[in-house]
């Protein structure tokens, strides 16, 4: 025992153990890493879709923000019509305001303003020290999947470019005044029925 020789016995035992250990160490991160983000992403997508489709935004005139001045303004986008003349039920849930959609699209098209929008939506992870943030993309489509157009331009198909292995989408069915839409597929009264898709990824 004092001779300092490594016995073959020890080597075999140690190598069996190390082999198993390395196998388990490679297996575990694969189980833990992938699913965790998607649980969170799904809830983020739901939350952003709800903020867009069920809230008129803050402050109530947020759509008059100047895109060149978006870093100085404090605002949170919300797309629904706020009917200030109504005695009650001022918020018209699921009824999207074309001007607000336009302003939102403008903000999302500008790189700096897009970061501001994401910050006010709570999607900015850089304040926690991360070097990446969630990606956000929103689009307004007919029920058959084609983009809604106004003057031959897509009304809303803006945001970061979709990438990232884990992406969650949340859809809401909304309506917009049909006078703003060139290619409305489904009209119910004056309402052009469409779907808003919100994509969030990391």
């Amino acid at each position: 025992m004092d001779e300092g020789k490594l016995s073959l016995d020890l080597l075999i035992g140690l190598s069996i153990f190390l082999f198993t250990f390395i196998f388990v160490a490679n297996f575990l991160p694969g189980v833990f890493a992938d699913v965790r983000n998607e649980i969170n992403l799904a809830h983020q997508a739901y939350r952003i879709a709800a903020l867009l489709v069920e809230d008129p935004g803050y402050p109530s005139e947020w759509e008059s923000i100047d895109v060149t001045n978006c870093t100085n303004a404090e605002f949170r986008p919300g797309l629904i019509v706020l009917n200030i003349d109504a005695p009650s039920n001022k918020k018209e849930y699921n009824h999207l305001d074309f001007n607000k959609i336009q302003k939102f699209a403008e903000l999302m098209a500008n790189n700096v303003c897009r970061s501001e929008v994401k910050k006010y939506f709570g999607l900015d992870l850089t304040i926690f020290g991360s070097h990446i943030s969630y990606g956000l993309n929103a689009s307004l489509k007919n029920l058959n999947g084609s983009l809604l157009l106004n003057n031959s331009q897509p009304i809303l198909n803006h945001g970061d470019l979709s990438s990232g292995a884990q992406l969650m989408k949340f859809e809401r069915i909304v309506y917009i005044d049909h006078s703003f839409v060139d290619n409305c597929e489904l009209l119910i009264g004056d309402r052009c029925v469409a779907k808003l898709e919100v994509r969030v990824w990391i």
């Binding site: 075999i12 140690l14 153990f17 489904l186 119910i188 029925v193």
Partner: protein
Amino acid sequence: MDLKAQTFTLEGVAASLLLLIATYTIFQSTVVLAPSWSEFENVQLKQLGYDILRVLDDPSGENTSLVGMIKNLTCNNDRCQPPQEFLSNLTVILSSINANARTEILCVEGGEIKVFVLEGFNKTPTPNAIRVSRFVVVDTSLCQNARVVEVRLTLWR
């Protein structure tokens, strides 16, 4: 044979077995499955259902809206035929979200609830279906003295 020299090998094998059995036990249990997965699918479908009912509830929509549909139903016992525009619109919406539906109208007559099923949306739901409903204030002859009805949509994929 000298059994003493096999101590390390035995220990090594025992350690490996311990690791593997522990890993297997933990990850065979439901901890690894993500049950929130199918829950979230239901959240999406349920919210879409509420959105559909809200979008259809247009006071000025005539035959295409809930109010207009309820006023223009032709019923036979507890089966009712909705107006053609309503039927086609709802069919388009449902096929775009890739879901099946069962639509029922409930109203109160003399303290009892009567249920009417809409033709065209009368399939039997699967066990994982979700149900959404909306109250609509409308005068209807479906039930005597009925002033409000519940439109109930059962959705499944």
